[in-house]
Amino acid sequence: MKDFELIYKAANESIRPSADFKQRTLDRIFEDEQKKPRSGKKLMLLLVAAIIAISAFVGTVSAIEYYQEVRGKAKYEREDKMSIRTEYSDKTDLYTGKIEQWQMRQGLKLTLTEVLYEDNVFSVNFIGEYKGKPCSFMLCGYPTMYIDGEQESEFSSSGGGYNKDGRRFYTEEMTMKNDCLTGVHEITLIYDEVWVTGLGENGSEKEEIHAEFKFAFTVDITEISPEKTIYIIDETFVDEEGKGVYLDKVMCTPASQRLLYRIIAPNENDEDYSKRYYPMLTAIDPSKTCRFESDHSDNGNAVAYNKMPDDFDLNAEEIELIVVLTTHTPGDRPRTIKVTCVRQDGE
């Protein structure tokens, strides 16, 4: 890859913003500062430009109504550590041949090729065909994840581009807010639109199609999370504004070697993102520091998980956590709380 690196670096030298970009940037920064909230004029211009650009390359836009629920069962094969490959089996009752290829109206076919679960991220790969030709497509909307059929969470998703030959595997990456540690049994993806850009009938025209579909597959996570221990915390931290911050629950899952805990922030439903707390578990034992990984949901609650220390006592009746609470508010001091968690089995 050495040649690749040199060529890629050289190629990037050709990628530059427009000549007056730096000056326009400074003008915009200091203009914004003078009149808050920001003027929408430039955004409007960009929007108009974007609409023109989209209109120029889209030949026809057709709206189709399509809704189909397909169910499948994912089978896990354990690879190294948390890397798990799921494979669809066509021998289960739930999983039928329909999921392999969704024939939609107007000649659109979507083929679900694989579902990967790796490091708490689901990747769902599709391949598209439109009127007999490979096509690219984009799934839009907000898929929903059902946990144990009760809770609900959102995925984040990402887009992509074409492959060289016009054919591509589209990967929809979904970061799970609550992963295997809590026991995920069913995931339902409901897309409100499918945008497809493929070759039109005359070979040069491009089309975009809007469609709607959903699919579900069952995930049996017992293999990767065969047991878990729940620790309950009674103590409540009260912040400087007198609001309670609840460390709601701590779970350790020996199979995945992780500790998960959830905190309920005082400003639930507060839309001021910067004021939300999110926790950092710095140590089980003050003498040890755990790797920090955390995520925070949009409703004010926060979920964080940490790698379990190598010498963590799986049979401990009590564990002591030191949690650092931080916010996105500039200048906000981190708050440190120390809580004792009492083991509770059999949930």
Binding site: M1, D3, F4, E5, I7, Y8, K9, A10, A11, N12, S14, I15, R16, P17, S18, F21, K22, R24, T25, L26, R28, I29, F30, D32, E33, L46, A49, A50, A53, I54, F57, K81, M82, S83, E118, D119, V121, S136, M138, C140, S157, S158, G159, G160, G161, Y162, N163, K164, R168, F169, Y170, T171, E173, E193, W195, T197, E208, E293, P330
Partner: protein, 161 residues
């Protein structure tokens, strides 16, 4: 950076120093010059408004790249469309056909792979640094880079590179 004048000079120096890098990172994700420029400007506005404190220059650059990458990803989602590499590279004048082929090969990768490739091969970040920047585990960053390399090898073999 106490005074308003000092802050202004600081922003000017950052715009001068990092604009190109940030633009390339955003462009590698969005594939549209206008939208990449917008992402870079939004990032500088955040820098000006939030005035984060950095440990050193590396920290400063990493913060700017991380924010511009997130902004570019958000823009891509909001735009609800994908940009083909033909569309995204049509206005760029590459010095050689190999450069165009390599750039287009990277553009054809999935977004998460493109970002990893750009940060590693152009910006020179290690897997650990990429993981920190993208808030993902190192193992995930490593996997993305390996998969990207495997896909690139296949694509570029076809081009005889």
């Amino acid at each position: 950076m106490g005074s308003a004048e000092g802050q202004r000079k600081y922003i000017e120096s950052c715009v001068e120093e990092y604009s190109d890098s940030m633009f390339r990172a955003a462009y590698s994700i969005i594939g549209s010059a206008a939208e990449a420029e917008d992402a870079v400007q939004e990032t500088f506005i955040k820098l000006y408004q939030q005035q984060p404190v950095f440990n050193d220059k590396n920290h400063e650059k990493a913060w700017l790249l991380r924010v511009v990458i997130n902004d570019a990803k958000n823009q891509l989602r909001k735009a609800k469309r994908i940009v083909s590499f033909e569309e995204s590279t049509s206005g760029i004048e590459f010095a050689t056909d190999d450069q165009r082929a390599v750039y287009e090969a990277v553009r054809s990768l999935d977004e998460k792979y493109r970002i990893a490739v750009h940060l590693h091969f152009f910006e020179g970040y290690t897997i650990k640094e990429i993981a920190q920047m993208l808030s993902i585990p190192s193992s995930t960053a490593g996997t993305r880079l390996e998969r990207a390399k495997a896909q690139l090898r296949k694509l570029l073999e076809r081009e005889g590179i």
